[in-house]
Symmetry: C2
Subunit: 465 residues, 2 copies
Amino acid sequence: MNQAAANLSDREALIDQLRSLFGERLTTSKSVLEQHGHGESWHPVQAPDAVCFPHSNEEVATIVKLCAESTTPVIAFGTGTSLEGQVQAVNGGISIDLTQMNQILEVNNEDMDCRVQAGVTRRQLNQYLHDSGLFFSIDPGANTSIGGMAATRASGTNAVRYGTMRENVLGLTVVTANGEIIKTGTRARKSAAGYDLTRLFVGSEGTLGVITEVCLRLHGLTEAISAAIVNFPDVRSAAEASIQTIQMGIPIARIEIVDRAYMKAINAYSKTDYPELDTLFLEFHGTCAGVAEQVQMFDEISQEFGASGFQWADKEEDRRQLWRARHDAYYAGLAVYPGYQGYVTDVCVPISRLADCITETQADIATSGLFAPVIGHVGDGNFHSTMFLEPGNEAMFAKALELDKRMVRRAQQMGGTCTGEHGIGIGKLKHMRNEHGDGAMVAMQAIKVALDPQNIMNPGKVVDC
Amino acid sequence: MNQAAANLSDREALIDQLRSLFGERLTTSKSVLEQHGHGESWHPVQAPDAVCFPHSNEEVATIVKLCAESTTPVIAFGTGTSLEGQVQAVNGGISIDLTQMNQILEVNNEDMDCRVQAGVTRRQLNQYLHDSGLFFSIDPGANTSIGGMAATRASGTNAVRYGTMRENVLGLTVVTANGEIIKTGTRARKSAAGYDLTRLFVGSEGTLGVITEVCLRLHGLTEAISAAIVNFPDVRSAAEASIQTIQMGIPIARIEIVDRAYMKAINAYSKTDYPELDTLFLEFHGTCAGVAEQVQMFDEISQEFGASGFQWADKEEDRRQLWRARHDAYYAGLAVYPGYQGYVTDVCVPISRLADCITETQADIATSGLFAPVIGHVGDGNFHSTMFLEPGNEAMFAKALELDKRMVRRAQQMGGTCTGEHGIGIGKLKHMRNEHGDGAMVAMQAIKVALDPQNIMNPGKVVDC
């Protein structure tokens, strides 16, 4: 029996063993395997050998222990909404689907924190918190799982005021590569007690362990919330107004750019009739007087940059409609050319370079001839140009890959990063060395080997370059 | 020649080699060695074999490379103000004194960030920033070096609004255990590109590498700043008022408790005449209207808890005097019993448990008979009881060690940590396993071995338990 055959037979034995433990919560159904072999990106499907649906930390530990015995890859799976091929089973293995670990374990109103299982989604948590006066602030477009958001160091539209998952995760429960259940962090707001394992696992994309529980900071709903859209003559003006807003220290909760191409797509998809101009979506949180003051300060700034057509949404229902339209932008883009795939870029630069970075990128896009509208969390210096591509059109894909590479190099040269919030997966591996340098890559790889010596935790991702 | 003699001879050869490279910037003068063998705590002096004063990243790399060749310990040294024996040379070795690396390398006003060498002190940086409209927010009591603050994950009085070093370090330059110079992080405000090496080195107390440069977030000075002290009938009332202030979401910049024992010591030391009652020191930052609103909200809360005797300080000079008195509390305590040593505790708990934790601790102190006044960053749930002890009085020290242990266990049982901001060093090693559990300790130790396989980087600290 050769090595490959031996491995195959080991893996079959493992699956039999898991089936005997998990019964119907272990599946090898082709459609389920396929569904677990991709996120929402263009990366080709790479299916696992089986999918397991645990209900507890202990069950996850059991799966990982058995996988470790047969050196089988373990891929944690949440809602399957990642954008860089994070869940692709590049060497097969067992996909651990955490969606049935969806209990909200505790909410501590007085401390404004909570503990949830990894499969809880952000909307589920916020529905649960309804009427508590508290909310969970991180909101990537999709209704993602909290575990997946921690693993990818997600952020979204509120990060400019409330921070990303880096700032909002207080602690984790993690199953390590040898099947141990460990806890990181405490419920104290700060600590100087040893290495910051919490921040190490946040953003590690399942390559160092499986996150099974997350302790989160929550934030108090403010007395007043006011949302608006406002139009600008061009993207540079909108970006410049954003930069000045941040530099003035206005504690704006959301400040999002949507270019005219995306506004047109949104109107078509969401049946809205917003002006099809370069637009900022805004939200102000605070006391009544505080919000009024912020609005006045922003208004003065925006006038300097030629703003027009403020449309306000103060009622919760109106605000929800406005932000739903913003969050559906990706799907609106997909609907412009039915059947096309989205290839989302995600650079983030120091805010002083944002206007240059966006306008140079837009000129580059125009030259390329691709449909690639721009949207972004401009308060953080982070924006996405999504290239919509015809499947199988290799020339188009080649053009997109080149355009992406130039965008990333431009951002890195400006002191920025190849990814503000989507992570590395397999899609951005090629940019890691240029961003971090050889020495830092050696350190990351040493950490990977130390915590996962058999390379079974989501292999082929993040540091495999 | 036996092993010890061989090591000694190796070390002498190393020192000769360093002297040939660094000349007078390498010293073995007894008084300098002694001075580099301790911080500001009660832990006994453990002097290094030599002290070296590099001027550049490359010089630090040279020292570390030579130390690695002879398996000699390397201890990074800033201002020598650590409180848990972080700089003690437990196995001798080379102390790298970074105070001559004190250049402010760049300030990017538009991005509100800067890059400094590790030896720059916080006051030096803020003096440099004077008139720029920006400030660096972290302020432990002493005039510490930025490198030391990063290494210890320091915080101070402003952390409740502006965060700790965890949130304010954007990136680092680090010399690793093999003498490589690596950079972590970018100048972008957020990134999802791989493992968060920045957060791993922040708080690692020199055990994973020597921090030589720090890229920091700065904050904008607000239009209005208003400081005050206010008295409460007891510590519980002051703590309860603080808790409610945080829970109401008032963006208070500083909220510090000082008990009546400390107030008396401060008056004597700083020649002030504050009421000798349990007191909160406060500071509000914002627009003029915003500060007025915060003050009004705080005033209403504080009345509920029996506050009296507000004394306001709005002018910069008056505020400085007020905060200088607060920051000098430790030295004021030392002056009560001349010749005594301070033994500072540093627990941090979820804010809902703060009033219980402080009052139970005070009862415990009263029973012990020790002089151990309480001061704290109550907005973060962090407080210090400093036990002032007679050198050589073993019975008193034994009592202090037991009291400390009970304080830590109490905080840990409340979901808190043994150290909010002072770090582990050698003093808190004994609390690590109880706080993190065996599994997390295994992970931390694996990281230590991965990044420092010879155990030359500040050995005996943080994870050596």
